[in-house]
């Protein structure tokens, strides 16, 4: 499986994400934000956590207009896989690949800790390594992780089984406890928690590993 990890000025989880993909068996290329094309034959694009462009204007807003993001959007529109984590999730909502927006945490504080996530669906190539209802421990580290969408969008996400993860103890005020959502074709996943920071025994937890292994497995055997 071939993966590309996008690097923006201000990305800080790009290498972690690359290592997590590689540990799961992927062949990874890092791609600079000013590049306007993805490497040929890429299966999945990782949009990493961090503070792209310093979060100026709004988190993810300027990154969403970068040259590489036009190619990421085209890749998704062709049915390609895109995994956006933390700031990457914010970028995917700003590009319109996923609905909603991420607001300042309801408690106003930056939160960095490990939280419980409930796997809401195993029906995606990202979450097939878990059972629906499993509770896993994954770190969060964000200031703007409060997921917001209007009632109609929340109902659509619920009705189409597109909520991938919810918080067991909502840390940031997210509507419907949402921590991660899928696109209609289930190939774009955006999530605020960091599975790449729980993908190696040295991290103190390995509950994120199954996500990378499942994705790599699904795309390698496809």
């Amino acid at each position: 499986m071939k993966a590309a990890v996008v690097v923006f000025p201000g990305s800080n989880c790009d290498r972690d994400l690359t290592v997590a993909f590689e540990a799961a068996g992927a062949d990874v290329t890092m791609v600079w934000h000013k590049d306007d094309a993805l490497p040929a034959g890429v299966d999945v694009v990782g949009v990493p956590g961090g503070f792209s462009y310093g979060d100026y204007l709004r988190c993810g807003a300027i990154a969403a207009k970068s040259p590489i993001c036009r190619s990421v959007a085209a890749h998704a529109e062709r049915g390609g896989y895109v995994l956006g984590i933390c700031n990457g999730f914010q970028v995917l909502t700003e590009t319109g690949l996923l609905p909603g927006a991420l607001l300042r945490n309801a408690g106003l504080k930056y939160i960095c800790k490990t939280v419980g996530l409930r796997v809401e669906t195993s029906a995606s190539d990202y979450t097939v390594g878990y059972n629906a209802g499993d509770v896993i421990d994954i770190p969060i580290a964000h200031h703007d992780g409060n997921y917001f969408a209007d009632d109609e969008t929340i109902a659509r996400l619920q009705g189409e089984d597109r909520i991938a993860f919810t918080y067991t103890d909502n840390p940031n005020g997210a509507r419907a406890d949402i921590a991660g959502i899928l696109s209609p074709n289930r190939r774009v996943l955006g999530m605020m928690p960091h599975p790449e920071r729980a993908a190696d025994a040295g991290h103190g937890g390995t509950d994120g590993q199954a996500l990378f292994r499942a994705l790599t497995g699904a795309l390698t055997t496809a």
Partner: protein
């Protein structure tokens, strides 16, 4: 030409920063502040001939996220 764009969170969207300011005003003894919304102002210096329609497009495509924010545009010479 100048344009001034006001961007505000929509009504119904929690504004935790505004709430923090409201609490602080109450703690300072300013009674009767029932709500505070905090937004941003973006000033654009534009070449002659720029139109409000162009600024509106800038708002729609970048300056505001219309999922959560409203905006208004004021043009001046």
């Amino acid at each position: 030409m100048k344009a001034r764009v006001h961007v505000m969170l929509k009504n119904g969207v929690l504004d935790p920063q505004g709430e923090a300011v409201r609490h602080a005003l109450g703690a300072m003894g300013f009674d009767g502040v029932e709500g505070v919304r905090q937004g941003k102002v973006i000033e654009l210096d534009l070449a002659e001939g720029a139109t409000e329609a162009q600024v509106t497009e800038m708002c729609e495509r970048l300056l505001a996220n219309t999922v959560i924010e409203n905006y208004t545009v004021e043009m001046s010479a």
